[in-house]
């Protein structure tokens, strides 16, 4: 066990975790969530805790709040010293009773939770949830609490704060919700702010804003920040010091620059290597698998593909009806995908990037006709997919498959994996039971999963393994086209890297074409041959990956690139990004936006010149 003791011993730290050990009582007996973890956080300092999923980051944070107890955990050892200010001696939170903790929680330690979507109570207004803590800890009256809440909302830069107060969580966008959660955590000006993956679920643009916000708070108020993330880009952007955790233990700790430049621990190095860094592919045309520490050297051969088109999409438009009125007639339409066109070559990857809600998924699904497009043409191998009847379409589906964002959600929790992978075979071929099983076993080999997993259930696998199963399932019928909708977004970096490599490898071997949908620019840069940037249902810029990334022309593309955190602490941005909120894609019936017009700015590199709404 390596031990790097804290480097900043000059002042009394706000919080000091010392030999923390947390046990969970489960049906299989007690398990250790966190083992002997120690670190401390000083005032005005951001300590980032990084590590894979399940490495104990959240448990450590929850222990600081003494909230682990409510999740069935128990602090089995160690001390959690917290300096309550006023020069008093630090108290050991681990020994405090819950009543005393309640006075500290929310008032002196604020916490931002991982999931902005679920961290707010859906049935209470923002005002109610924001003022609750204030009224309790600071004994404010209703009016005073309200004005303080308004102040907080302004502080976190939420537009139209007055209106927000009366709204419900679901009426806010993810970014706004996360900002409300932050405001809530800041309500009583805590000395320590714990942020547990505050941006993981968010778009790059919103992420950039929130990171800037937390950073500003730290600087302006001198709040101690414990920042938990597994995104190295964010770490580089935020951290003063970094704590690396692995399977419940702390493996390394040090100043951010030291960790990035000169990581001592192999795990840290492996982790850093797995991060796709924007710009890493500068100067190359074709995707190359990522070099991974500790793995057998993967062939670093670039995957070139061919130049013969497989999929041609022209003028694809998909709109969703908004129904209303007594008779539930269509009153308006969501213009989810508006007049997009692209060509995908055999053995190549076309990436769709853009912010949440810009229509990437809808585009992908329209191609497979999982949603019915309104017009346009989709030609696969010379056959018009949109013109097909039900039976034909079903047969064609064998040649185009989809991998979904959430590997857990896209697998049936009640079905053994064998069955799930065998499902397409069952649907399309007349194979016998044994034959099918053999084929599934082959597929498991193909995606490097042990055959013994065939009898397992999805929840028994890790995220990466599940996504491999999803890939195996998509491969079962040997399709030509795979639509990968955020196929790696939910995975840990290291796992993500492996899945990406696997996909590239399969592409090289089987000549697959991918329609790769992602909002992670780093990933997109790594895997694509061509990139299409979407905004508000339209492709605003499309071209070879190299051209688009190295020479973005459209204003939106530029802004998007700028928002991506760079996994390099020296390249920190200083300016606060400001994004325009995306306009509504809902238009009244009969609204016909003009056709998208493009200008060719380079070979195969087109930029939209008509109004994109940006």
């Amino acid at each position: 066990m390596l031990d790097t003791s804290s480097s900043s011993d000059d002042a009394v730290p706000v919080a000091r975790i010392d030999g923390l050990r947390v046990m969970f009582a489960t049906r299989r007996g007690a398990i250790e969530g966190v083992r002997d973890v120690s670190f401390d956080i000083g005032a005005g300092e951001t300590v980032c805790v990084v590590g894979e999923s399940g490495s104990g980051k959240s448990v450590s944070a929850l222990s600081l709040m003494r909230l682990v107890e409510f999740g069935g955990g128990e602090i089995a050892g160690g001390r959690v010293l917290f300096d309550r200010g006023y020069g008093a001696a630090p108290v050991d939170l681990a020994q405090l009773d819950q009543a005393a903790m309640r006075a500290i929680r929310g008032a002196e330690i604020g916490m931002i939770f991982q999931e902005p979507m679920t961290a707010l109570n859906p049935v209470f207004t923002i005002e109610r949830q924001l003022t609750e803590g204030l009224r309790r800890h600071e004994r404010l009256r209703r009016g005073a609490a309200r004005s303080r809440a308004l102040e907080l909302l302004r502080e976190v830069r939420i537009p139209e704060p007055e209106r927000r107060l009366t709204q419900y969580p679901h009426e806010l966008s993810g970014g706004m919700r996360q900002r409300v959660v932050i405001a809530m955590a800041l309500a009583c000006s805590p000395r320590l702010l714990i942020a547990d993956e505050p941006t993981t679920a968010l778009d790059v643009t919103i992420q950039a804003e929130i990171l800037a916000l937390i950073d500003r708070l730290k600087r302006e108020r001198g709040t101690a920040v414990l920042f938990i993330t597994h995104d190295m880009g964010v770490v580089a952007e935020m951290a003063d010091r970094v704590v690396v955790m692995f399977r419940g233990e702390k493996v390394e700790e040090g100043p951010v620059a030291q960790i990035f430049d000169d990581a001592a621990h192999p795990y840290t190095r492996a982790l850093l290597a797995a991060v796709p860094r924007l710009g890493a592919m500068r100067g190359t045309d074709a995707p190359v698998p990522m070099p991974l520490v500790g793995r057998d050297a993967v062939s670093a051969e670039p995957v070139r593909g061919t130049d013969t088109p497989l999929l041609e999409v022209r003028g694809l438009t998909t709109r969703f009806p908004v129904r209303g009125g007594l008779l539930r007639r269509r009153v308006a339409q969501v213009h989810a995908v508006e007049d997009i066109g692209f060509t995908l070559n055999r053995g190549q990857t076309l990436s769709l990037v853009g912010e949440s809600g810009c229509g990437k998924s809808t585009a992908g699904r329209s191609v497979l006709r999982l949603v019915e497009p309104m017009r346009g043409s989709v030609t696969l191998d010379g056959q018009d997919v949109l013109a097909m009847s039900g039976a034909d379409l079903r047969r064609t589906r064998a040649r185009m498959q989809m991998i979904f964002q959430d590997p857990f959600a896209s697998l049936n929790p009640q079905m053994p994996l064998l069955e799930q992978v065998a499902e397409p075979l069952r649907n399309f071929s007349s194979m016998g039971e044994a034959e099918r099983e053999a084929r599934v076993a082959e597929l498991f080999d193909r995606v490097e999963l042990p055959r013994s997993f065939m009898r397992r259930y999805p929840h028994e696998l890790s995220g990466g393994q599940r996504q491999r199963v999803a890939i195996a399932r998509a491969l079962a019928l040997e399709p030509k086209l795979i639509v990968a909708d955020e196929a790696v977004s939910a995975l840990d970096v290291s796992v993500q890297a492996q899945v990406l490599n696997l996909m590239l490898e399969l592409q090289a071997e089987l000549g697959l074409s991918y329609l790769f949908i992602s909002h992670d620019m780093g990933v997109v840069e790594r895997v694509s041959h061509k990139v299409a940037v979407m905004y508000l249902g339209r492709i605003v810029e499309i071209g070879p990956r190299r051209a688009v990334f190295e020479d973005p022309r459209h204003a939106y593309t530029k802004a998007l690139m700028a928002a991506v955190p760079v996994a390099d602490p020296r390249a920190r941005r200083t300016r606060t990004p400001s994004f325009k909120p995306i306009p509504s894609p809902i238009h009244p019936l009969g609204h016909e936006p003009g056709p998208a017009e493009y200008a060719e700015v380079g070979p195969g590199h087109f930029v939209m010149v008509s109004d994109s709404g940006y």
Partner: protein
């Protein structure tokens, strides 16, 4: 830990122990649930008792022994020395001298058979309608209005109609008791599927938005298979709850039917009917209400606990935890 130990950890980590057989697993999880085992055990006991009981206790439940009427169960002798008891009738006899033990056994057989069959029927109808309504938007309105219709139907006339129309043909082909059994099961089933349908529909509405259903569609799975293979296993838990309540309701409804004279022939005992018949004399002969009453309650409780356990055991997510 070695260096490769850490970097190897970058590989996917998941549980590595060899998987056990699926049914072994289910059983192991089930066995861990104390209540489930007790409930299941009781059900097995009752089922065995009513099936092999008549072989051991050969007294005919319908034979009247008017001289031995109103005997108390043998255990009343413990505190009331002057109670009339007889080892020939350990559970006592009723007011016409029919043996209570034999009636309990025969009644249990009828009640359990009706309960299970009617419950299964109502589950099948309810689940089918619920799944279809939830899955096909276009059928939803119609099916839910159909549910309303059935909720509004007055049961008694329905029963009388059914008895009038079908008793004779059913009696001709299945005999008086068999025919009535089918009729009762059908009527209870047909009039009690609505809550199940509603609940299942609600769950399916939510489930079909889940990605794995979309995934199945993209794999070319037909709607029928999606419903059968993907949706159905995932609505098992509400179905289990319906099943528990359904069994209790079916057993009790059956007794209400015999009460109204549209049930089994009057000399054909069921627990529900024994309970109803004994109510007027419950002060003098409390055992006559208690025996069938306790039997019904324990059965329902047993099914409830077993349902809990089974639900946990069948859900692979809970099973592993």
């Amino acid at each position: 830990m070695t260096e490769t130990g850490f970097t190897e950890a970058l590989r996917d980590d998941g549980p590595d122990e060899p998987p056990r057989g699926r049914w072994r697993d289910v059983w192991a999880q089930f066995a861990r649930h104390g209540g489930a085992v007790a409930g299941g055990g009781f059900l097995v006991f009752v089922t065995l008792a009513v099936l092999v009981g008549p072989l051991i206790w050969t007294t005919d439940p319908q034979t009247l022994d008017i001289r031995a009427k109103n005997l108390r169960p043998i255990w009343t002798g413990l505190w009331a020395a002057d109670a009339s008891v007889s080892w020939a009738h350990p559970f006592g006899t009723d007011n016409l001298g029919r043996d209570m033990l034999a009636q309990m056994i025969a009644g249990g057989r009828a009640s359990l058979a009706v309960g299970w069959a009617a419950m299964l029927l109502s589950l099948v109808i309810g689940t089918a309608i619920g799944v279809v309504a939830g899955f096909f938007r276009r059928l939803d309105g119609v099916l839910m209005r159909l549910t309303d219709l059935f909720l509004a139907l007055p049961i008694l006339p329905l029963l009388l109609v059914a008895v009038t129309l079908f008793r004779q043909p059913l009696r001709a082909s299945f005999g008086p008791e068999g025919g009535m059994f089918i009729l009762i099961v059908a009527v209870i089933g047909v009039t009690s599927w609505m809550p199940t349908a509603r609940i299942v529909r609600g769950d399916v509405l939510a489930l079909k938005e889940r990605e794995f259903v979309l995934a199945a569609r993209s794999l070319g799975t037909t709607p029928g298979r999606i419903m059968l293979r993907h949706l159905l296993p995932n609505v098992l838990s509400p179905i289990m709850v319906s099943a528990t309540l359904g069994l209790a309701t079916a057993i009790i409804t059956e007794s209400a039917l015999s009460f109204l004279g549209v049930g089994f022939p009057s000399d054909f005992p069921t627990w529900g009917k024994m309970l109803a018949d004994a109510v007027p004399r419950m002060v003098e002969y409390p055992e006559r209400v208690l025996l069938p009453g306790i039997a019904i309650s324990l059965t329902v409780l047993g099914v409830n606990y077993m349902g809990d356990g089974l639900r946990d055991a069948l859900d692979p997510r809970i099973r592993q935890r």
